[in-house]
Amino acid sequence: MSVIIQNQDFDVGLEYQRLCDANPKAGAVVFFVGLVRDFYSEPEQASEDSDSSPNIDYLELEHYAGMTESLCQETITQAIARFGVADARVIHRVGKLSARAQIVFVAVAGQHRSEAFQAAEFIMDYLKSTATIWKKEVGSNGAHWLGMKDKDAQAAKRWKSSER
């Protein structure tokens, strides 16, 4: 169980190996990697014509040091308890990240795949909707801070309605 917020890149193969080594009883590992896409994510900045859609040059991520870590830690602790998985880890990069760079890594190890999948989705949904991290897209159509999307708010909400 760990949360790392850093500018530095991470090595997915290495992180996977560490998780397996720390959890020799696990039968299922699920993980998620979020990557910087090279186009604007909100319709106001994106062009209608997809062929000539403006590209972003980089993302600038900032966060509230200290608070982000404890929110992520809480989320992980909840996920482990709720889904009965063995271990969960989060790495989230901040700072300037160019297109195709890795942004976020969430990995879960557990006995069974279904619980591992659910825990990973739960962590991602909470991370998107509660962690004190902000993204600015910078590119040919200017700079633009992203707010939480409706979709992400909905995704986070579903875990509240479905008592298990």
């Binding site: 509230y64 989230h92 991370l127 509660t130 004190t132 993204k135 801070w145």
Partner: protein, 84 residues
Amino acid sequence: MITVLFFAQLSESAGLREVRLDASETQMSVRDLADKVVVELPKQLALDLFDGTVLVAVNKKRADWDTRVHAGDEVAFLPPVSGG
């Protein structure tokens, strides 16, 4: 002193990320603090700060606009997040 932090869009509107305020009033809420802070800062900050989407944290813990703040506290204004 109370430390006030702005993030993302708010820090751009404020033109700064951090401001320190005298905390002589003992019955001040986060809202009172915000009202005091915006006076000296660009008008855009007031528009963004009170647009109904901003959450607050006191000493790195989620709080609300009615939470009381005291000398030594760190108060952060958090626009809608977009991590992940």
